[in-house]
């Protein structure tokens, strides 16, 4: 059993976890920074423990402070949410050393998935297709790999993330220069200059599979398409992946389950794939060992509360769901409403929402921590809320999203809402199945 849950996060996901915990009769303690002491999740949690000052390096990212706060509050479990310490093996180990359950996978899984090359090797062991390429320790190795994969190719940082240390190389004569830059960037960002080589797919879609496992068995909850991204961060997500033959979708889902079974995966996780938009061949990218921002689209089509499943597995219960019980219905789309000015290269725009009128109605869900006069502090990421629509067909879902966006009014700071109104009106989006180049080709 879990009686008192520590939530090591903030914003909408903290609120989301409080909601399910409350419904399960679990007491909640929010570990908040001083800047979030008056936030909506802090108001709604049973108890608040301050984990440090505003800057996340001294609060939400401080393993020491967060673990100390969870111990102080007498919690028997920690839910890490997404981002921050959610995939940090050191944190999970410290939580467990304090005799507290970590709501997430085994430490070995976190370690295996944190290193991109190790994750790739595990996927190959499980029989998953990966992009041609691989490790290249020396300059000569990089040239050998490049000759094997062909051009265009990507140089990626081994300890990478967020697009740093990543370079696209179109011609062999540019390889040396690009390698120097990628290594310098990787060294500066991650303290590790190691890079690897991967084939670049020009018309790629980002498709992921929601997984649930209890350490023994694993099931999938279908696909999500997250191809609409800026700076390698998602803006729009939908479930299931549209405009894709059923057989292709099933192939990806089966591959993801094979990986989860191979790992003995415990909890909720997401396997991400790059899918060639022209022939639907797919390649494993990475496994996110946590709840995802976009989990509500999967909840909408399956009716499964993923946070509840995470908590049940963390209590040591076997999965009560079987693959046959997962019967997705309809189509769901989520858009992220961020405090960002899309017309100024997505510049963050922290501040206060003087008005926050969110849409409501049938098939509409809003996950947000921003009400009237809600504050977006300058320390954290820019997500203000998620608008999720669900309808029997994709066409109806797009229509519902379009109407919902018309009635969304946030005043006091620029948001991504105007951008989403242009996306939802774009013929390519209406048709469905766009690739990751979509945003660059969006009409101004």
């Amino acid at each position: 059993m879990i009686r008192k849950l520590f939530i090591a996060n903030r914003g909408e996901i903290a609120l989301r976890v409080i909601r399910t915990a409350r419904a399960m009769g679990i007491e909640t303690v929010l570990g908040a920074s001083a800047a979030d002491a008056a936030s909506l999740p802090a108001q709604l949690a049973d108890q608040v423990e301050i984990v440090g000052p505003g800057p996340s390096s001294q609060s939400y990212l401080s393993v020491e402070n967060v673990v100390a706060a969870a111990i102080r509050a007498g919690c028997d479990a920690v839910h890490p949410g997404y981002g921050f310490l959610s995939e940090n093996a050191t944190f999970a180990r410290a939580v467990e050393a304090a005799g507290i359950r970590f709501v997430g996978p085994d430490i070995a899984t976190l370690e295996g998935m944190g290193d991109k090359l190790a994750a790739r090797a595990l996927a190959v062991e499980a029989g998953l297709p990966v992009l041609p390429g691989g490790e290249a320790a020396t300059r000569a190795d990089v040239h050998t790999r490049a000759a094997q994969t062909g051009y265009p190719l990507l140089l990626k940082a081994v300890s990478g993330g967020g697009g740093k240390g990543m370079r696209r190389v179109d011609r062999a004569e540019d390889l040396d220069t690009a390698l120097d830059m990628a290594q310098a960037e990787a060294q500066a960002a991650f303290g590790n200059a190691a890079v690897y080589v991967e084939r670049f797919v020009a018309m790629g879609r980002h498709v992921e599979v929601q997984l649930l496992g209890d350490g023994t068995s694993a099931i999938h909850l279908g696909t999500r398409d997250c191809s609409i991204q800026r700076r390698f961060q998602k803006l729009v997500e939908e479930a299931p992946a549209p405009a894709m033959p059923l057989a292709a979708r099933e192939g990806i889902e089966q591959a993801a389950v094979r990986l989860a079974q191979h790992l003995g995966y415990r909890g909720a996780g997401t396997a991400e794939f790059l899918v060639d938009a022209t022939d639907f061949s797919f390649y494993f990218l990475e496994l996110n060992a946590r709840i995802q921002v976009e989990h509500p689209v999967t909840e909408a089509i399956t009716g499964v509360d993923l946070v509840e499943q995470q908590l049940l597995v963390a209590m040591g219960k076997p999965l009560s769901l079987t693959q046959a019980m997962i019967r997705p219905t309809g189509h769901a789309i989520e858009v992220r409403i961020n405090a960002e000015d899309a017309s100024a290269d997505f510049r963050p725009t922290p501040g206060r929402a003087t008005r926050a009128a969110w849409p409501a109605g049938e098939g509409v869900r809003v996950d947000t921590h921003i009400g009237q006069n809600g504050e977006v502090p300058p320390f954290y990421d820019s997500l203000m809320g998620k608008l999720i629509v669900h309808a029997p067909t994709r066409e109806e879902a797009v229509d519902r999203l379009s109407k919902a966006l018309e009635s969304l009014h946030i005043e006091g700071l620029p948001t991504t809402a105007p951008l989403h109104r242009r996306i939802v009106a774009d013929p390519r989006f209406i048709a469905g199945g766009v690739d990751t180049g979509f945003l660059a080709g969006l009409a101004q």
């Binding site: 909601r19 409350r22 505003g54 926050a356 409501a360 049938e362 009237q372 504050e375 320390f379 009014h409």
Partner: protein, 148 residues
């Protein structure tokens, strides 16, 4: 600190459906803890909206900051965030008192939402004062440095 959360998204959808099929334009619900206003759109286009106001939430928590006076010699922060003098801890600062700067000279960085934003001097001059210590939370428009 509540016994239960007020309403789930399923509840909101149900109440919205009731309101939609009724002759009423809006529902305004106030409790000790929150106020919820559900309203039909004004024109033909706008649909139903939900507006939440939480007792106690959104209180002023930002650090006390003084907005820049109308000082023509001040270089101000283009956005709120944490002001840093140097590109990384331990590195020499971008500029020091006495340095000549041009419009494109980077005088510091402001970290906002995990992004590093360079601050440019915006005009030519000589650095007279550094007004804000390294690592300080600054407001948009707050004076960072003065030129002489």
């Amino acid at each position: 600190m509540t016994d239960d959360l007020p309403l789930t998204h399923e509840d909101i959808a149900e109440i919205a459906a009731i309101l939609d099929s009724s002759g009423y334009r809006e529902l305004d619900l106030s409790t000790r803890r929150f106020r919820l206003r559900l309203a039909k759109g004004d024109g033909a286009e706008g649909g139903l909206t939900q507006e939440w106001q939480w007792a106690g939430a959104g209180a002023e928590v930002a650090a006390e900051v003084t907005a820049a006076a109308a000082d023509p010699q001040a270089i101000c922060s283009p956005l709120p965030g944490t002001f840093y003098h140097a590109p990384q801890p331990g590195a020499p600062p971008f500029v020091q008192v006495g340095d000549e700067v041009g419009p494109e000279t980077v005088i510091g960085i402001v970290e906002t939402m995990k992004l590093m934003n360079p601050v440019h001097a915006g005009r030519s001059g000589t650095i007279a004062h550094v007004l804000v210590p390294d690592g300080t939370l600054v407001a948009k428009g707050e004076a960072l440095l003065r030129l002489s």
